[in-house]
């Protein structure tokens, strides 16, 4: 069994990866940390993502140990600079 997670990249991360959105398939029971490992394991340029990035799940800042379920939206959040 697996879940597909809509994954978003913004600003510096999007520039670096050349993509703003990916659908990532993960085993059921995976966490945000597992998603980061899966992405970084794809090699260049994904291995340039931080090992411990700031993350939002369903538009709420979340810890890396958060479990993921079907329909979740995960965003990689570079250091923010509004204002």
């Amino acid at each position: 069994m697996s879940v597909s997670i809509r994954t978003l990249f913004f600003a510096a991360y999007r520039d670096r990866l050349g993509v703003s959105e990916l659908l990532i398939k993960l085993p059921t029971g995976s966490t945000v940390a597992d998603l980061v490992v899966e992405l970084r394991g794809r090699g260049t340029p994904f291995d340039s993502l931080p090992e411990e990035p700031a993350i939002a799940v369903n538009q709420i800042y979340s810890f890396l140990d958060q479990p993921l379920v079907v329909g979740d939206e995960v965003a990689f959040i570079p250091p923010v600079a509004g204002g």
């Binding site: 978003l8 913004f10 600003a11 510096a12 991360y13 999007r14 520039d15 670096r16 340039s48 993502l49 931080p50 411990e52 700031a54 993350i55 939002a56 538009q59 709420i60 800042y61 979340s62 810890f63 890396l64 965003a75 959040i77 570079p78 250091p79 923010v80 600079a81 509004g82 204002g83």
Partner: protein
């Protein structure tokens, strides 16, 4: 009323100010963040703001509601813009009103500081020499990570 907006539309300061105010209010203030022509000794010719718009809307609402505790009223209107901005363009506007001035100043200051800490918006400075770089940002609280200021690396650096 609490009003918040994150959009590509230009910000109308007086219109924001007109959204706050009441007969009992003796103070109404408007803060505007404006794109300036320099940053750390470099000449800037414009700025690109990126946003996670749906989340930024939610976070801005949270910040506004929190600010009402400082304000003692719910009269607050905040707009943040994204997209390509020119020198002199308004990037953020914060209007508040309250019976006395100190609460209004405190609430306005609270909002802009929280925006910088946690609103999912980013800015890229365009320098006159043609180079563009993402501005140093903050790791938002709530992510379980160190919230001290981190630099956003340029394209040639490892992302950390």
């Amino acid at each position: 009323m609490v009003f918040t907006e994150v959009s590509v539309d230009s910000i109308d300061g007086p219109a924001l100010l007109a959204k706050v105010g009441a007969d009992e209010d003796g103070a109404a203030i408007l803060f505007l963040g404006v794109v300036r022509d320099h940053a750390e000794g470099r000449q800037v010719q414009g700025m690109r703001y990126d946003a996670y718009p749906e989340m930024a809307e939610e976070v801005l609402k949270e910040i506004a509601v929190e600010a009402t505790e400082h304000l003692g009223t719910d009269r607050i209107a905040i707009a943040h813009r994204f997209g390509e901005l020119e020198i002199g363009d308004i990037s953020v506007g914060i209007a508040v009103s309250s019976p006395h001035r100190s609460e209004a100043y405190e609430a306005s200051r609270y909002v802009i500081e929280e925006i910088k800490k946690r609103l999912p918006i980013w800015k890229k400075e365009h320098y006159i020499d043609g180079v563009s770089e993402w501005v140093k940002g903050s790791i938002p609280p709530g992510t379980g990570l160190d919230s001290s200021v981190h630099s956003v690396p340029s394209a040639d650096d490892e992302l950390v």
